[in-house]
């Protein structure tokens, strides 16, 4: 092509040391303003589409894996604490050495009255929790966790009743089970009959989405029936749910109950929940496996993002060296790399969280409980961006070590 200089650009038209400010009418207007660092970052990212897709797939995989593992972990915590969360107490009186809510052993039978006599205690409720043998109507047996609670309560059990009623459980030999356990327990509808520990029972109510963390189905009944079915004394219970009067000295009440009932432990709501969760999630290793899965997801994400960012930086190293030669500070170039990392993280997170929500929605009516909360979504966002920024370190190290003199050898 002809490079003869435009006659209108001769001499004075060349930018002098002081730039002029006249805008010709035919010059296009300035496009929408995007910071040059961001522009350079996204153009670098999108320049190699295949590499970009690999990066995004890596981040999406990582986000989904971490979201699902964390969601299952939170779901497990929620399941483990489900009964306790539904019937919160100021204090729980539990047998000494209780490992978790579903590690039941009976109290002696005098706890309720002893606790009621402590100044500051307003209300005490018995709760019976016990393993029981369930015989299906069509034959075959199963072990269940039988939960007996008082009918007169500010927080009666069970909840989420989909068929039948809580009041129907007041009748003798009636129980409530969750609809999701029908196949396991050989039940098809309300009014079906089965046996618990050799005693005939009828399904009087059906709940929804009340599943235990373990493989043992919950079976709810009234407190008297629970005692009868498990063969414990009429005053005995597994746990005592203690509610305090307004203004009661919590520590004094706890110490007094402990003084009067030395063979028990008095736990706050949080302590009982945490103890139950710690037992199932950490002493059994289930939680560790979930956490390990999430960490693995993070590592995979970091490695993929680091590899692709490093590779992208190497591909654009001449441009970064040119920038350095033109006088760009190390901070400017680091900003470009970090912007690439953050952009990758934003896109990967958006796609990943959408996919994770889809998976969670698909798991809604299955035995798997996966929970997504705004806090978890927020934490995942921070983790994803943090992961991408961390993954950018190798690329940053590469780029800040550029010798700008290489621009003369290319």
């Amino acid at each position: 092509m002809d490079l003869a200089v435009n006659s209108s650009a001769q001499g004075a038209a060349l930018p002098a040391s002081r730039p002029t400010k006249t805008r010709p009418a035919n010059r296009p207007r300035a496009p929408r303003r995007i910071p040059m660092v961001a522009k350079l970052a996204y153009r670098n990212l999108f320049h190699d589409r295949l590499s970009f897709i690999v990066t995004i797939v890596g981040i999406v995989f990582s986000v989904v894996l971490v979201a699902i593992q964390s969601g299952i972990y939170l779901g497990s915590e929620k399941k483990i604490a489900a009964i306790l969360d539904q019937a919160p107490a100021d204090y729980w009186i539990v047998p000494l050495g209780t490992k978790s809510f579903d590690d039941p052993s009976p109290l002696s039978g005098r706890e309720r009255h002893m606790a009621l006599s402590v100044p500051g205690v307003a209300h005490v409720e018995d709760m019976v929790v016990s393993f029981a043998r369930w015989r299906k109507p069509a034959g075959g047996t199963n072990t269940v966790l039988l939960i007996g609670s008082e009918a007169v309560s500010d927080r009666p059990l069970p909840w989420n009743i989909a068929d039948g009623s809580r009041g129907a459980l007041n009748a003798p030999t009636t129980v409530a089970i969750d609809k999701s356990y029908f196949p396991d327990l050989g039940i098809t509808a309300v009014k079906d009959q089965a046996e618990i520990n050799g005693v005939n029972v009828e399904i009087a109510a059906v709940t929804r989405k009340i599943r235990s963390f373990t493989t043992l189905p919950f079976v709810f009944t009234n407190i008297e029936e629970a005692r009868r079915l498990t063969g414990i004394g009429q005053n005995q219970a597994t746990y005592e749910r203690v509610l305090l009067s307004d203004g009661a000295d919590r520590d004094a009440v706890r110490n007094e109950i402990l003084r009067r009932l030395p063979d028990t432990e008095v736990l706050t709501q949080t302590e009982f929940v945490k103890r139950s969760q710690a037992y199932w999630l950490f002493q059994t290793g289930a939680g560790a496996a979930l956490i390990a899965g999430a960490v693995l997801g993070l590592i995979v994400g970091i490695v993929i993002v680091a590899q692709t960012l490093y590779s992208s930086t190497k591909d654009h190293i001449n441009e970064f060296a040119t920038l350095r030669a033109l006088g760009a500070g190390a901070g400017y170039i680091v900003k470009v790399i970090l912007m690439q990392a953050v952009l990758s993280g934003l896109i990967g997170y958006a796609l990943g969280i959408l996919l994770a929500m889809g998976v969670i929605a698909a798991a809604e009516d299955t035995k798997l409980t996966v929970v997504m909360t705004p806090q978890l979504a927020g934490a995942l966002f921070a983790i994803t961006i943090g992961m991408c920024v961390f993954a950018a370190i190798s690329a940053i190290i590469k780029v800040v070590r550029i010798d700008p003199a290489v621009v003369f050898s290319r």
């Binding site: 490079l3 200089v5 435009n6 805008r23 010709p24 300035a30 030669a325 006088g327 760009a328």
Partner: protein
Amino acid sequence: MSHPANSKVILEAEGIVKILGNAPTQVKVLKNIDLQLHTGELTLLMGPSGSGKTTLLSILGCILTPNEGRLSVAGHATANMNAEGLANLRRKHVGFIFQGYNLVPTLTAVENVMLALDLRDQSGPDAYDNAAEALEAVGLGHRINASPSKMSGGEKQRVAIARALAGSPSVILADEPTAALDAENGLAVMDLLSRVAQDTNRAVLAVTHDHRTLKFADRIIRIDDGRIAGSERPKLPGAEPLQVEAH
């Protein structure tokens, strides 16, 4: 040696020594170089391959630091400056034009120029207008949104010149600016550089092997084996006709 009227020294190097490599294979590439660049002048730096031209250019552009000697650019002594200080000096006072253009391929022509302005903290519509003006001045007003991949070598080099001009630097250093161009485009680029050098606040130094460019030079410095071998001002009245040597 006389200089143009209103000319002043904008870059001054004195006793520059550069040693590359480590003992026992180290090489003394530059040996006690003294050099001044004057505003309003296009200076050509010529010499055979391996004579130290590019190393000298890198030192004058504050990209490499000399082992000995002192350098001053636009009144700023570079001694004791760290890498960021030198980058700052380059950003404010030095414009580069490279043999391979070194444009960012993912940015358009105007964005490449705006990038240089962004480094100088100029952004937004003003930066766009300044970049567009710089491109118009090099005859590329109609190609401001073209991608480097869609431009000819001559056009790319003119974008690189516009980028170097955009920040109004005191010194423009060009490394073999015509080496990748055909004769016509090479001459057009040199013509452009000679007009760039007419700014009384700016000096232009171009490393070149291309003897067709000699006619544009206000001054020619010859370097050989790391030493200044000669300097002449061919445009001064009474100057000897240029002796073209084949290297």
